[in-house]
Symmetry: C2
Subunit: 345 residues, 2 copies
């Protein structure tokens, strides 16, 4: 039963990471500020790639840094890495072992870029290939489906962003995250009941936008890994550019609609899906206008600021995937066909 | 019946684009070479975003340029555009009308970056917001599902890459693309028969890697828009990091495995799916080792070079989506719920 205990230990892991790594992250940020960093070049796979999607929005909005997601095959199969002038090269990996991610960091170092590893294994090949390391200190993750390493990776990204701006108000908000997470996890029994309705679901789409684009991807990934349903993530804008054609009456759509700048656009899509197409909706939100449209509303605390909402909004999604896995009678600890550490080139 | 005629006119559109725009593209490339461009910042949605995925690999491998896919909501909803120092800002849009893509170009110009629009409408807002324009000259596209504007966008990207390197051998290869495309389109009747087998398919995954990562995305998008099945694209590496757990015996997997640097990794995945999981396979390839593993093999000419293969390998995918739409009895010209021009913010 490690998956549910790993889900539930997230608030304490986040709290520990914040206190134990703040000085290290501030020291790293001070080094980065001395360099002429013009953009971030980030390599990751799977769950860690979704943490990278969060970094894309957060470092853009808070730090003015454009972010390019690396295409590792250019480094490994094609052996034609791009010229990474003035890039901060970042690798995110729980195990720190995937050769393709390591090769991006090694190339970044070879080209004289600043390199940063965000990993749960501070002695891994990834950590050894980087100038700087943020150890997410999530403890051993035994379940194959990553949960606590995802939220600690998000936290590491958020801490880096705060350290780069040096905004004390944002550090204060960060310190409230464990409390918001604990409050959200109290819904586990409610979600266990709600998941029964989806015992025979075999496909869905998952919508999110802005900061919670990452949440949509990570919710979809947990559903695919654990419940074997096909679950495709979209920004609501990309969804409107074609894939919405798939949706017919009763089609299940999952959506993450936290309060903030993109809320109105998400609400508009949710209303269109409900009123025009009669879709079935599972909605994670902290705004009643979105929650009341859903057959299954999953609430997060009202006062979570948008930039931190991915740390909190993923929790009902993880619980939903866990309880749906049980409802379907599958193994929550060891999904078929995948291993904990996947080494791709 | 405009969709099938638009699919079939692609070779002649590509040929015309190559002859009519080469001088313009070379002039643009000469201007770009005068500037200190360190990376490409690219904004697009839907089909055009898939052309952007091709640009990500091609400009990386051939031109050493890292590429960041823009997150337009940072420009529109969040009003926190990143600092685009030394970026070439590119917008790709058939109609040139989507406000979010236009806003990225406008911001790029405001920050003093070089800006380029790739569009089918040379008087559109997107074209007007850019310093340089490549007019893809695809002619009016009447079917809602984009086909000829996709391949002409790919061609525009390939021409820009060749103009930046100035490699005459690559221009020669480009000039062969219309012939390879014509040869491939001759399979329309065979594909019409083959598609019957999938009359009752309701979901699939589409795999591609490297240059044909874009093809996997575009094939999946055509399937979703036209046949309303859920079709999720993956790189074979990301697929191995979790989603492969979904696949069980008989599950349909579509794959694009053109000869080249990533072929062995694609072949390994195809064999694993066939032998270990007994998946059902539709494979686009020019290598017999991949085609013989498939229940439905879709061949492209043997001598297409990998870097140009996306221009050719998308054609069997378009034909497959078209014929499957007819087999399912749906409207090929006007899918439900979507319009030709989608204006998102």
């Amino acid at each position: 039963m490690s998956l549910i205990s790993e889900i539930k230990e997230q608030p304490s892991r986040i709290k520990y990471l914040l206190s134990s790594q703040r000085r290290n992250v501030e020291r790293i940020a001070a080094e980065f500020r001395k360099r002429d960093i013009q953009y971030v070049f980030l390599a990751a796979r799977g769950t860690s790639d979704n943490a990278g999607r969060y970094a894309n929005y957060l470092l853009g909005a808070q730090n003015g840094l454009p972010l390019a997601l690396a295409t590792p095959s250019l480094f490994t199969y094609y052996k034609r890495p791009p010229v990474l002038k003035n890039a901060l090269v970042v690798g995110i990996s729980q195990s720190g072992k995937s050769p393709d991610i390591v090769s991006v960091l090694e190339e970044g170092r070879r080209q004289g870029c600043a390199t940063l590893a965000i990993t749960n294994e501070s002695k891994s090949p990834l950590a050894q290939s980087a100038d700087y390391v943020i150890d997410i200190q999530a403890g051993a993750e035994k379940a194959v489906a990553a949960t606590k390493t995802y939220t600690t990776e998000l936290m590491a990204v958020a801490m880096l962003s705060c350290a780069l701006t040096g905004n004390e108000k944002q550090w204060d908000e960060l310190s409230k995250a464990p409390g918001w997470m604990r409050a959200t996890l109290k819904q586990s029994d409610f979600i266990s009941q709600a998941a029964q309705r989806y015992r025979y679901i075999d496909q869905t789409v998952v919508l999110g936008r802005g900061f919670n684009y990452a949440t949509a991807f990570e919710w979809a990934l947990k559903l695919k890994e654990l419940t074997y349903i096909i679950a495709e993530p979209y920004s609501s804008a990309d969804f409107a550019h074609g894939p919405i054609a798939m949706v017919e009456s009763g089609y299940p759509v999952f959506a993450v609609a936290a309060k903030g700048r993109v809320f109105d656009s998400m609400l508009q899509m949710i209303k269109r899906l409900r009123k025009d197409i009669s879709a079935e909706l599972v909605v994670i939100s902290n705004d009643k206008r979105a929650l009341t449209e859903a057959q299954v509303p999953l609430a997060i605390p009202a006062d979570v600021p948008e930039w931190l909402s991915p740390l909190v909004s993923i929790l009902p999604a993880q619980l939903f995937a866990y309880h749906l896995t049980r409802a379907k009678g599958y193994n929550t600890e060891q999904p078929r066909s995948i291993r904990k550490v996947t080494e791709t080139r």
